[in-house]
């Protein structure tokens, strides 16, 4: 179960040109704090949520705070205030245990894959699960077979297509057998065919899945949809109603009517 209790994410505001100038003039003098009149910028929240459904989709415009919400769930981003609890574990206090439970799939698989071949990259994930070195290779191949990459286990990663790399990134996450999978726009960089392959694979997983996406067809298949706008959850519920709200918010319905 995922719980957000007043979770708030902030960032320091960019310094104004005036402040930068003052700081520059003071360089080399005794340290003197610069008075900052702006408070921290609110990026997301405060959010109160309890997520128990098996399939949860998060939609929203670019820069609305979707990815920040996703990152909160794995502990990649820690809340400035409030709490994020995964099965009762606090992401701030129990980060290690949280990351064991929550797998994270990034938009760009190239950032996630660090080893030269698929089998080695999945084996890297298996190292932290305590799989003996003797079994790692075979286990890695089993996981790759689950996502349809058995034949490509020993190919150089750069010989894989974008879709295959995303499948590899997914395999590397699934190798650790997380209980929850958070996917941050995993199909954004893929063509239609690979988008379907990756989405279908994610849909069939036994794990609880939080899917951040721009693909409204995929969102429509979720049990629950969250619409994020300007760092707040503006709609939350069954796909039909929430996606209608999202379309209105984006002005898509108006365009359809005008078209």
């Amino acid at each position: 179960m995922i719980e957000l209790r007043g979770a708030l994410v902030t960032a320091d505001p960019p310094r104004s040109a005036d402040e930068r100038g003052r700081r520059g003039r003071r360089a080399g003098t005794a340290a003197e704090p610069i008075a900052r009149h702006d408070g921290p910028l609110r990026i997301l929240g405060p959010i109160d949520l309890t997520l128990t459904e098996q399939r949860i989709a998060v939609v929203g415009a670019n820069g609305s705070g979707k990815s920040t919400l996703a990152r909160l769930l794995n502990g990649l981003t820690l809340p400035a205030a409030g709490q994020v609890l995964i099965d009762g574990l606090d992401t701030r206090r129990d980060g290690h245990a949280v990351r064991r439970r929550v797998g994270f799939l990034f938009t760009d698989p190239d950032a996630q894959i660090v080893m030269p071949t698929p089998v080695e990259d999945v084996a890297l994930s298996l190292r932290r699960t305590g799989v003996p070195a003797a079994d790692r290779d075979a286990r890695a191949r089993e996981v790759l077979a689950r996502v349809g990459l058995a034949e490509r286990a020993d190919l150089p990663v750069r010989a894989l297509s974008g879709g295959q790399r995303q499948l590899l990134a997914l395999a590397a996450v699934l190798a650790t057998e997380p209980e929850i999978l958070v996917c941050d726009e995993p199909t954004t960089l893929l063509d239609l065919r690979w988008r379907r392959v990756v989405t279908d694979l994610i849909t069939e997983l036994s794990q609880q899945v939080v899917l951040v996406t721009h693909d409204l067809d995929a969102a429509a298949r979720a049990d629950r949809v969250l619409v994020v706008d300007d760092g707040r959850i503006v709609a939350d519920g069954a796909p039909e109603a929430t996606l209608a709200t999202y379309r209105l918010l984006m002005g898509v319905d108006d365009e359809v009517r005008r078209g």
């Binding site: 794995n74 990649l76 980060g95 290690h96 990351r99 064991r100 797998g103 994270f104 990034f106 760009d108 950032a111 996630q112 660090v114 080893m115 030269p116 071949t117 089998v119 080695e120 084996a123 890297l124 994930s125 190292r127 932290r128 003996p132 070195a133 003797a134 079994d135 790692r136 290779d137 075979a138 020993d154 190919l155 150089p156 990663v157 750069r158 010989a159 590397a172 996450v173 650790t176």
Partner: protein, 224 residues
């Protein structure tokens, strides 16, 4: 170093696919969780050779010894069957760095110092490339992790340190790829002549990529 190159170094050669499988010992033949001695020994030997080469590069002075060491490493690269074009492309940033360093040394200390510095730099980087090209990353990690395990007593995480070293050794082809992409982008805009126009974005992209990879490793719990 007579093993064929790791498949990473040539994506276009399907026959190399099976070579990694051949170098990976079947799981059923291994006796315990530690890698078998017969499989780690060549990796240990290669790492020791790399370390000794590093010492030799520093200890032996003069252009002649530097060129001899470079020749030895070039021979190893040939024996390891490193693909010439891919390796040259991967080493391009190092070649540029070596040329710049040699130019400065020539101006400051003369031609002998220039040859020595350039040859030493190329020797070490090419030797690292040969090591990573002929060694499965998982095995390299196992050996490095075992080697630095005593440092656990002073608070060092041996797995994290081994992973950092492994990634560092693999950085050269990654940087080359980024530089190549950025240069292509500059060329497409007719800006290829001035290196400053692609060097800055290339550096920024390399740093950004390193940050993204660190974040992804953290998300996978590998750094815990």
């Amino acid at each position: 170093m007579k093993q064929p190159a790791h498949p990473e170094h040539d994506a276009s050669v399907p026959s190399q696919t099976s070579q990694t499988s051949q170098t990976s010992q079947p799981a059923s033949t291994r006796l315990n969780s530690a890698p078998a001695v017969s499989t780690t020994l060549p990796t240990v030997a290669k790492l020791l050779a790399l370390a000794m080469l590093g010492v030799a590069v520093v200890a032996l002075r003069g252009p002649l010894s530097a060129l001899l060491l470079l020749t030895a490493v070039l021979t190893c690269a040939a024996l390891a069957r490193l693909p010439l074009r891919a390796t040259a492309r991967a080493l391009l940033p190092i070649l540029i760095t070596a040329a710049l360093a040699a130019g400065y040394q020539w101006w400051a200390r003369g031609p002998a110092a220039a040859v020595e510095v350039a040859a030493d730099l190329l020797t070490l980087v090419l030797a690292a490339a040969v090591l990573t090209a002929t060694t499965p990353a998982d095995r390299l990690l196992d050996v490095l992790s075992a080697a630095v395990r005593p440092l656990r007593r002073v608070g060092v995480n041996p797995d994290a340190l081994a992973l950092a070293v492994t990634l560092l050794l693999r950085t050269v082809p990654e940087i080359a790829r980024v530089v190549s992409e950025v240069r292509d982008a500059a060329r497409a805009r007719g800006l290829s002549r001035d290196p400053r126009l692609w060097l800055t974005p290339a550096v920024l992209r390399v740093v950004g990529r390193a940050r993204d990879q660190g974040e992804a490793l953290a998300a996978r719990g590998i750094l815990d």
